[in-house]
Structures are given as structure tokens and as C-alpha cells.
């Protein structure tokens, strides 16, 4: 198949290797080295999408990352990617792409009706139109707007690709490999600095790939290739192509993404698709180049109208003509290079130049080649619906407010140039306050806030000579700050064309009595009339104009539109651009896939999983696991076809009747040592600790300084100056940090050390009326009688030769013990307990049964200790020492905490004794009261009581125990339930606590 617009020569493509791809369902061919954009243009295709709001036909404008229009959807299914920029996608065999924001097709788009209705949708029409009736927003307006808002479609299936993160440090990071970037990287590397050079494109060289220049006795391209080879050979240089540095963060943290897979025809499935690099650079050299600015004229957004530099790039890099009857429209000399490239390839362009004259070298060369030039002329309007077919060109009158005459000039493309805008995004992100340079009419970096230096055309120096000097000098300077080796490299001599002045004129007047649309922001469909409207309506700050019109807010971040917008605002307001200011540049510079940002932290890899030493035993015994923070804990051990509730009932009932065993390894354990340990605990906990005897445990409650309950658990005195603290699973990490804070910051005079030992001990709770009998079997030498080993006792014992710690503590409310052994003996301990308990009907129980047992006993846990409850809310006032001060005590007599109306813990049962009350239900007096129904409290935890065989819940209820006996309603609008309930004591089972002491 012929590529009608492909040249026989020119370009860095491989004409031997033909590549097939699909666009909008049709098969085309390109060559290896093409981008999707250059391959489509080689086939004569300009129309690639529809504009965001008015669905106007749109084609390519740029040839690189500045492209605002050519956003396409790639591939299908899980691999699909929305909003891919066609100019940045390297062509690969089998590529599938389609246009976005059009239906049924890009050439016949139903939504284009918006273009004819456009007077109803000016800037800000959302705010004006959809204000009333209010209730319509969620149900009608928003869904419709969402459907018609025009970007790609996100994949619905999980991403099949892998992404990786990498961390790097370097002395100097150079961003961009044009002349200044290559020069600075070389100078810094030769001076001994560790250098990373990052280039977004597949080929190094930047403007050297397209410009007719010589460096030394080589062409620009040859010099670039040679310099890259030289850099690659240096051991202190990392050089990366296809790598976009998209964000400049604090303390010189640079973030870059590298495209590692998509350009390869049959990639190894193990290589990641993209890599995200976090680079901590001591110095950053920003050599990101510049972007050409479009000119604004009537219907300047038709397909076939593109930047002059892009047209040149398509010829020089890809051997592609963007048209065969070009009009070149410019206010400066650089577009003449494009005209010359056309001419060299046998195409005669017409140059329309706003200026009265120019004596630049390129203009002279163009004249010499016989190129037709119309000075003092402008393109006023264009024609052609799906592609431009003529330009209406007129001679500008003296004050450029209108035209003296207009003529229709047939053409198939218009290449525009409004001079160059330095790419200052990274410098601005780093905190550099930009300044407006009157000479180039654009912002350039000013005072650096971090260690960043901008060089080359990104800094507004648009000549090769200056860029090379800048690169070599700054590369040496910044590297020498670090290496101090004083090895200076001189910039090579270079040769380039001289340039004459440009005309500071961007927005063409409309011909008399014409109201053509003149586009400023191509991607977000913002026109001159929208900006005029915003200012008429009183928006003054450029940030407000931006938000009202959405100028520069699209995924291209206004790379081609921001400055033209600013210029317009300043013209209308009769201000100068620096007074208007500029909007904030934010990362990412170009769109980054979510997959790259997430990296390997997906699914189970999102965070580490903590497993108990007995985990494999649980797995073998049909445990169903539940996430408890980072821990995986057995929720229940499934037998046959049991449901969760059936299993929890069986396991819980077995604890109440026989004996059960529960893995409690995940409970936080903190070793506390030192002569002031008891004093420290006395300050941290609300109750008294000085007199706790060695060999005894005590239940403790700790508060935050604001009086809220923070955590609870038991702490055991192992020896005089050695304690073993336990915390809840959820707060283990926070409690350790809390203790460290008080020991290091508040009371450094206390001689105490704390250390987490959670993972050093495997823990098993053995609970139930038969647990004493089992303990006797485990430790035949031990006196297990209630006198010999009373409630809250502690002993160090020997489990068949293994040291074990035995505590008589209980969470289930039954007679219970907890046994700890070193982690590597966990399975041995567990199996020993299981085998010796077999005759007693021992069964393992999971967290669901554990919760059931604690709920019906009225023990508070995380669902009640929720950061909003003080001790008296949880019936823990008995735990508060009156004799001593402790963390949080002073807060407890604050007025609000003494209010008798406070919500306090109670028990609740459904009146029908059958319906489980959903956790989170609200308790109200009248289920039919008008909304918002006054809330008296909420259900914090629910279970099916194994003791009474009916549902039971804990609740936090206004006035708490005073309401015992009252009938209320538990409402759960989420589950659509309304349940009549009775308030009872929170201690539903064994209220006197006789079992644990038996």
C-alpha cells in the first residue's frame, strides 16, 4: 500500500521494515521509526479527533508532547489506554488506535451539532445553565454531561502489565538531550560528576535532529550521535531515552517515567511496561527546550493547520509531507526553515508573513530558492470542514486592526509559527518565580529556589551557539560545586543561520462583520470570544479566567495555549503580560499512566502481609482468613458447608462448654526494661502500677492527652525492672511510638527502654471451663490450682523442654490462659495443645468467635475504643487512679466530659430475639420521625450470643445505663432495616466475672 505523503529520502526511519497498524478500524502501513502521528500523516490522514465541547473536527497540531488534539484510545479490553498522544506513540506492528470523543465516527460525529448550538455553550455555561432546579444536578445534568464530556474510556479490567519503581541518586540530572543538554552532560561527566541524562524521545539530539547546523566540522545530528556514544562509554553516566522527567518535587526529588515495552514488537513478557524513577539529584540542569506558539486567526483549528516546526519535524525525522500545497503563516524567521524544507523536497509553499520585511538568513535563502512570500499579510480565516482547503489571506492595514483586501488561496495545509515559548514547567515546579522576558515575549526562569539551573532554549536563548556555551559552562559549574576537580571542557564552534526580529502580534483581527471562531486552547475548546466574555463578566485574575474558561486546564496543560491566552488578556485589559502573571505549572508535565505511579504495589503487594508462626497449621485446617491490619488472622475454621455465623457459633459454644484455642500472636507485645519501668507505666496507664508484684499481670488502660481512651491490654511484671506489655493488634505500632515519645521527648530522665517483641513470641489463648485440666497436662509439674496460679498470675514454665511464659488472663470471659513461646516453637506449642486437648473436645477458634465471646461479655474493643470515647463512656471509670497523675488525666474534668448526657456503652437486644442488628445502625426513639431523625446512639458491635442463642449488640448510647429497659429502634438505611430493640446491660454474660476467677 502506498504512503502518498512519504518522501523517498529524509527521516530517521527504516524503509525496509514496513509496519501495519489499525486506525479507526482501517488498516494502514508505516515504517519502523514512525510515530502513530507520522504514519497517519504519511497516509494523508489529518482528521484524528473531535474537539472537547463543540465536537469540531481536529487534526494534528504538533509533532511531540505539545500535541493538544491527537488523543487516541489504544488497543481494547484490559490493555486499552485512553488519551494516548498520537505524536508520542512509537509505531509497532499490530498497533490499534481509534479516535475519541466522536460518535458514530470521526468523520460523521453526531455531537458536532454542539458546534451549531455553540452560542448556547459559551465559557461558564455549566455554572449558568445547570444551577436550577437544584435536584436536577445529580440525577439529570451530571450524568448527561459526564457521558458527553470528551475524553477516552478507562479500562474496566485489571491492568495485565507490570510496572516497576526505581530509586536513584546522582550528582547532576540533565533533563533533555538537545545541544545544551548534551553539552552540559558531557562537561559535568568529564568533570567527574555522576550524571543521569534523560531524554523523552526515542532519539537523542533534540533540535539537532531537525536543524540545518554544523558543530565543529560535523552536522548537528552527527555531533549529537558522537556525543551520545561518548557519554555511553563513560562509567559515571547513565543515559536514558524514552524517559520523561515529569515532576520536580522538594529537595531535588525528580520523578521520571521510562517507557520500556510498548515500542518492542514481541516483548519478553517479564519486562515491565514502564518504570518510574525517583531520582534524588544534587543538581538539576533543565534543558527541556521550547515549544512553538500557534497564531490565532479565524477557524484556525481545522485539520491540516499545524505548527511550522511540526511540519519540519515530520519531513526531517520521518520523511513525511504534511501537505503538498502548503501555506506557511508566521511572525518570525524560524518558519522559513520549514518553507525551505518543503522547497527542497519539490513542493512550493506560499509564505504569509505578518512583518513588513525581514533580513534574516533563512528569509534570504527562501527568496533565493524562489519561494513566494507575502509580507504584511495574514491569514484571516480558513475553509474546509474535515480538512482545510483554502486560506483567506489579507493584507493587514497599518494598525493591524483589519484587512485592506482579502483573497482566497487554495491549500491543503497551513503551517503556523508564532515564535517560541521556553518549556519552563520543571523550573516553575521547583519553586522558581518566573520572569517575563520582553525580548522573546515569554516567561523564563529567574531565581532558583532549589538546586536547579535552566539552560538552552528553555532559558530563552534561541541560538545554537548560546545553547552550547550555556550547556558546557553550566555543566562545568554545577559539577564543580560537587567534584571540585576543575576539569573544564570548552564548547565546540558552531554554525547556524542568523535570525531577524519577530513581530509581537499573535491574534489576527476578524474581517469586518465576521464572527469566526478563533481558537486559543485547542484541547479544551476555548476561543477568543470565551476569554473576552470572561473579562466582560468581571474575571480579572488570570487564575480566575483560567478556571472560568478552562483555558490551559486540559491534559496538555496549555503547552501551546497558555501564553496566547495571557497575551489576549493583557491586550484586552491594556496591561503588560508580567502584570497579568501566569498560572501555576504542576506535575506531571505530560500524562503518566496510573499503573506507573502505582508500580508493584497492587493487590496483595500493596503492603506487607504479616503471618503468625502457626499460619501454615491454620491453612491446613481450613481456616478462612481475615485482614487485621497487616496481619492475616483465622476468622473461623470451616467445617463442611458451614457459614461464617454457624462456624462462629460452634467455635464460641465450644469455648463456653469445653476448651478452645486461639492464635493471639498478632497482639502487640512490648518489652519494657529499666529501673524506672514501674514509674513509667504508672504515668502512661490510668491505674496504679508501683505495687504490682513480680509474677502478676494487670489490666491497664491508656489515654491520649485529650482524654480519649487510646488502648488497653495487660502488662505483666516479669521481674523487678522488667515488664511485658500487650496491646491490641490494631494499635501495637502506635502504642510503641507513644511510649517512645514520652520516654525520649517528655521524660528523658526516666531510665527505661522499650522494644517491640510482637514477632518474637508466638501466642496461644487456651479458654474454656476445661482449660485448667489442659494446662495441667501441658505442664505436669505446675501447680495449676486457683490458689497456686490465681487470676492474673504469671509463671515461667517448661513445655517439653521449651521455655514458655504462662499468663492467666482472659479476653473471652472464660477461665483462660495465654501461653507464649519463642516464635520458632509456635507450631510445636500449638500441636502439643491440640493433641493433649483432644479428649477434652478442644477446637481452634477464630476472630469471629473471639469477637462473639468478648461482645456478649461486654468487653470493649476497637469498635468502642474509637477515639471518641473517654473512660466513663466505656464503664472504665474504676480504672482511673485518684491518687496519681497520668497521661490524659487533666482532660477528664473538662466540661464536655462531665456532661451526664454523654453517649456511653450499653447492651442491646432485638425485641424479637431473632434479627441481627447491623453494625453502624443508628438508635432512635421514633422510627417514623421526620428526617433528620434525632440520633441517640449507634450500634458498635453485633454478635449472635452463644450463651443465650439470640442476637446481642453493644451500643454507644446517649445517657447510657439510665436507659436500660427502654425500647428503641435501630435504623440501618443502608441495609433498609428498622429493628425494635431493648436496652440491656453491656455485661450480658457473667456480669460479676466469676468464671475468669474460678
Amino acid at each position: 500500500m502506498t504512503q502518498k505523503y512519504r518522501l523517498d529520502k529524509e527521516g530517521y526511519i527504516n524503509r525496509e521494515k514496513s509496519i501495519s497498524f489499525k486506525f479507526n478500524g482501517k488498516k494502514y502501513f508505516g515504517y519502523q521509526g514512525d510515530t502513530l502521528a507520522s504514519a497517519l500523516l504519511a497516509n494523508g490522514i489529518h482528521l484524528v479527533g473531535r474537539s472537547f465541547k463543540y465536537h469540531r473536527p481536529r487534526g494534528f497540531i504538533g509533532a511531540k508532547e505539545d500535541e493538544p488534539n491527537a488523543k487516541v484510545q489504544l488497543y481494547k479490553g484490559a490493555k486499552t489506554e485512553p488519551n494516548a498522544v498520537a505524536t508520542e506513540i512509537e509505531l509497532v506492528e499490530g498497533l490499534v488506535a481509534k479516535s475519541q470523543n466522536c460518535w458514530p465516527s470521526v468523520s460523521f460525529d453526531f455531537g458536532a451539532i454542539n458546534n451549531f448550538l455553540s452560542r448556547f455553550f459559551p465559557a461558564g455555561f455549566y455554572y449558568k445553565t445547570f444551577m436550577w432546579p437544584k435536584s436536577f444536578w445529580y440525577r439529570i445534568y451530571e450524568p448527561i454531561i459526564r457521558k458527553t464530556a470528551g475524553l477516552g474510556v478507562a479500562p474496566l479490567k485489571p491492568d495485565p502489565d507490570r510496572y516497576e519503581h526505581k530509586f536513584e541518586h546522582c550528582d547532576v540530572l540533565v533533563v533533555g538531550s538537545g545541544p545544551s543538554g548534551l553539552g552540559s552532560a558531557l562537561a559535568a561527566a568529564k568533570n567527574g560528576a555522576r550524571v543521569i541524562l534523560a531524554e523523552d524521545k526515542s532519539k537523542f539530539g533534540g533540535s539537532l535532529l531537525t536543524d540545518q547546523v554544523t558543530i565543529g566540522n560535523k552536522t548537528g545530528k552527527e555531533w549529537a550521535d558522537e556525543t551520545v556514544e561518548q557519554l555511553k562509554s563513560l562509567p559515571n553516566v547513565v543515559i536514558k531515552n524514552r524517559s520523561q522527567v515529569f515532576g520536580y518535587y522538594d529537595h531535588n526529588m525528580m520523578v521520571m517515567f521510562e517507557r520500556t515495552k510498548d515500542h518492542i514488537e514481541s516483548p519478553n513478557k517479564y519486562i515491565p511496561r514502564q518504570k518510574l524513577w525517583y531520582i534524588r539529584a544534587k543538581e538539576v540542569l533543565v534543558s527541556t527546550g521550547s515549544i512553538e506558539r500557534p497564531l490565532i486567526f479565524g477557524n484556525n483549528d481545522r485539520p491540516g493547520i499545524l505548527l511550522a516546526s511540526a511540519a519540519k519535524e515530520y519531513i526531517k525525522k520521518y520523511g513525511v509531507l504534511v501537505g503538498k500545497k502548503p501555506v506557511i503563516f508566521t511572525n518570525n524567521d524560524s518558519a522559513y526553515d520549514t518553507a525551505i524544507e518543503f522547497k527542497k523536497n519539490g513542493i512550493s509553499p506560499l509564505v504569509v508573513d505578518i512583518r513588513k520585511n525581514s533580513e534574516g538568513a533563512a528569509v534570504k535563502e527562501a527568496r533565493g530558492l524562489g519561494i513566494n512570500i507575502k509580507f504584511s499579510h495574514a491569514v484571516a480565516n480558513t475553509k474546509g470542514y474535515l480538512k482545510v482547503n483554502s486560506a483567506i489571506v489579507g493584507k493587514l492595514n497599518n494598525d493591524k486592526s483589519g484587512y485592506e483586501s482579502l483573497e482566497n488561496i487554495p491549500c491543503d495545509c497551513i503551517c503556523v509559527s508564532g515564535n517560541w515559548t521556553p518549556t519552563v514547567h520543571l523550573a516553575s515546579q521547583s519553586g522558581n518565580k518566573l520572569k517575563f522576558d520582553e525580548i522573546i515575549s515569554a516567561f523564563i526562569p529567574n531565581q532558583s529556589r532549589q538546586n536547579e539551573t535552566t539552560i538552552g532554549s528553555a532559558n530563552g536563548s534561541f541560538t545554537l551557539k548560546k545553547s552550547l556555551e550555556d550547556g558546557f559552562n553550566k555543566g562545568f559549574e554545577v559539577s564543580n560545586k560537587l567534584t571540585k576537580k576543575n576539569i573544564k571542557s570548552d564548547p565546540p564552534t558552531s554554525n547556524e543561520k542568523s535570525y531577524d526580529n519577530y513581530e509581537k502580534f499573535w491574534c489576527m483581527p476578524l474581517p469586518e462583520n465576521k464572527q469566526y471562531k478563533r481558537c486559543v486552547d485547542f484541547q479544551n475548546d476555548v476561543y477568543v470570544s470565551d476569554i473576552e466574555l470572561a473579562i466582560r463578566e468581571g474575571f480579572r485574575s488570570i487564575e480566575h479566567v483560567k478556571r472560568y474558561t478552562t483555558l490551559g486546564m486540559a491534559t496538555d496543560q496549555g503547552k501551546t495555549s497558555n501564553l496566547n491566552g495571557l497575551q489576549l488578556v493583557s491586550n484586552i485589559e491594556n496591561k503588560i503580560v508580567p502584570e497579568v502573571g501566569h498560572t501555576t505549572f504542576r506535575p506531571p508535565y505530560t500524562p503518566v499512566t496510573i499503573g506507573t505511579i502505582v508500580g508493584r504495589e497492587v493487590g496483595k503487594h500493596y503492603r506487607p502481609t504479616r503471618k503468625s508462626p502457626m499460619h501454615s497449621w491454620h491453612e491446613k485446617n481450613n481456616a478462612v482468613f481475615v485482614d487485621a491490619g497487616l496481619w492475616l488472622r483465622p476468622r473461623y475454621y470451616k467445617q463442611g458447608n458451614e457459614t461464617l455465623q454457624q462456624a462462629a457459633k460452634r467455635e464460641g459454644a465450644n469455648v463456653r462448654k469445653n476448651v478452645g484455642i486461639c492464635d493471639v500472636t498478632s497482639l502487640g507485645k512490648i518489652d519494657i526494661k529499666g529501673p524506672d519501668s514501674a514509674e513509667f507505666l504508672n504515668r502512661i496507664y490510668t491505674n496504679a502500677w508501683m505495687k504490682l508484684p513480680v509474677g502478676k499481670a494487670r489490666y491497664g488502660v491508656m489515654l491520649r492527652e485529650d482524654g480519649m481512651v487510646f488502648d488497653d491490654g495487660t502488662t505483666t511484671r516479669i521481674s523487678e525492672n522488667h515488664f511485658h506489655m500487650t496491646t491490641t493488634t490494631a494499635q501495637a505500632v502506635n502504642v510503641l511510638a507513644h511510649l517512645e515519645y514520652y520516654l525520649q521527648v517528655v521524660w528523658p530522665e526516666l531510665d527505661v527502654n522499650v522494644l517491640s517483641t510482637t514477632e518474637q513470641w508466638a501466642g496461644a489463648a487456651v479458654a474454656g471451663p476445661k482449660s485448667r485440666e489442659l494446662l495441667k497436662k501441658l505442664f505436669p509439674e505446675m501447680d495449676v490450682s486457683s490458689e497456686g496460679f490465681p487470676f492474673m498470675g504469671f509463671k515461667e514454665e517448661n513445655l517439653s523442654g521449651i521455655p514458655a511464659r504462662v499468663f492467666r488472663i482472659s479476653f473471652s470471659g472464660e477461665l483462660a490462659y495465654e501461653i507464649n513461646v519463642e516464635s520458632n516453637h509456635g507450631v510445636f506449642m500449638w500441636e502439643k495443645i491440640m493433641s493433649l486437648g483432644k479428649n477434652m473436645g478442644i477446637q481452634p477458634y477464630g476472630t469471629e468467635a473471639l469477637s462473639t465471646l468478648r461482645i456478649e461479655m461486654g468487653h470493649v474493643a476497637g469498635s468502642e475504643i474509637d477515639g471518641r470515647t473517654i473512660p466513663s463512656d466505656l464503664s472504665l471509670e474504676g480504672m482511673l487512679s485518684k491518687k496519681k497523675d497520668f497521661v490524659g488525666k487533666r482532660s477528664l474534668n473538662r466540661e464536655a466530659f462531665l456532661n451526664p448526657d454523654r453517649e456511653k456503652v450499653v447492651g442491646v437486644i432485638p425485641v424479637d430475639k431473632k434479627t441481627m442488628i447491623p453494625e453502624g445502625s443508628h438508635l432512635v426513639k421514633d422510627k417514623n420521625a421526620a428526617l433528620p431523625n434525632p440520633k441517640l446512639g449507634h450500634i458498635s458491635a453485633s454478635c449472635w450470643s452463644v450463651e443465650y442463642n439470640n442476637p446481642f449488640s453493644l451500643a454507644i448510647l446517649k445517657e447510657g445505663k439510665k436507659r436500660i429497659g427502654e425500647k428503641l429502634y435501630a435504623l440501618s438505611p443502608l441495609k433498609n432495616k428498622s429493628i425494635e430493640v431493648e436496652v440491656v446491660s453491656s455485661h450480658y454474660v457473667d456480669p460479676k466475672g466469676e468464671r475468669v476467677r474460678s
Binding site: 522538594d250 529537595h251 531535588n252 525517583y278 534524588r280 519553586g431 492527652e705 511510638a737 515519645y741 525520649q744
Partner: protein, 88 residues
């Protein structure tokens, strides 16, 4: 992401640390009478300066030591870090 110099371990990335607020907030001594106002100030009120701020950081994924950092809240520049026993 900030780079913070732990006085014990050296420069590390911010994700190894957790923030601990104003280092000048002093807890009233235990057992001493404290007025409601002073207590409220200690619990809830902190200066929120734009500019230099001396603060506590905890090297949680490292040596577990608390230390002091003098940081500019608007630019994130870190001027100095110090052990709790040293002056900033």
C-alpha cells in the same frame, strides 16, 4: 518528598519518618495544677507559622529516635536537624 538528616543515621527520604509537631510545645509537669486555659493551649493550640518552624520528627522506619528539625513551612527548606538534647 523531603530529605531529612537524622542526627543518628544520616540523610534519609521522608517516607522513613513521621511528623511530631511543634517541638516547643512542652507538656505541663505531672501532678502540677494547670488552668483550663493552659491545658487547652497545650492540647489544641499550636502556632502555624509561615516560615521557620522547629518541629519534632520520629525516625520510625530507622533508629526509632525522636529529634528536632528546623524547617521552612512554605519552602520546605531544612536548615538544621538536632538531637533532642542539642540546640537547634
Amino acid at each position: 518528598m523531603l530529605e531529612i538528616k537524622c542526627p543518628y543515621c544520616g540523610s534519609r527520604s521522608q517516607n522513613e519518618f513521621s511528623y511530631g509537631g511543634d517541638s516547643n510545645a512542652k507538656r505541663p509537669e505531672l501532678g502540677k495544677e494547670v488552668s483550663d486555659k493552659d491545658w487547652d493551649n497545650f492540647i489544641y493550640l499550636r502556632k502555624n507559622p509561615r516560615g521557620k518552624h522547629s518541629e519534632l520528627w520520629h525516625h520510625v522506619a530507622g533508629c526509632r529516635q525522636w529529634f528536632k528539625v528546623l524547617r521552612d513551612t512554605s519552602t520546605h527548606e531544612i536548615f538544621k536537624t538536632a538531637k533532642l538534647t542539642d540546640e537547634l
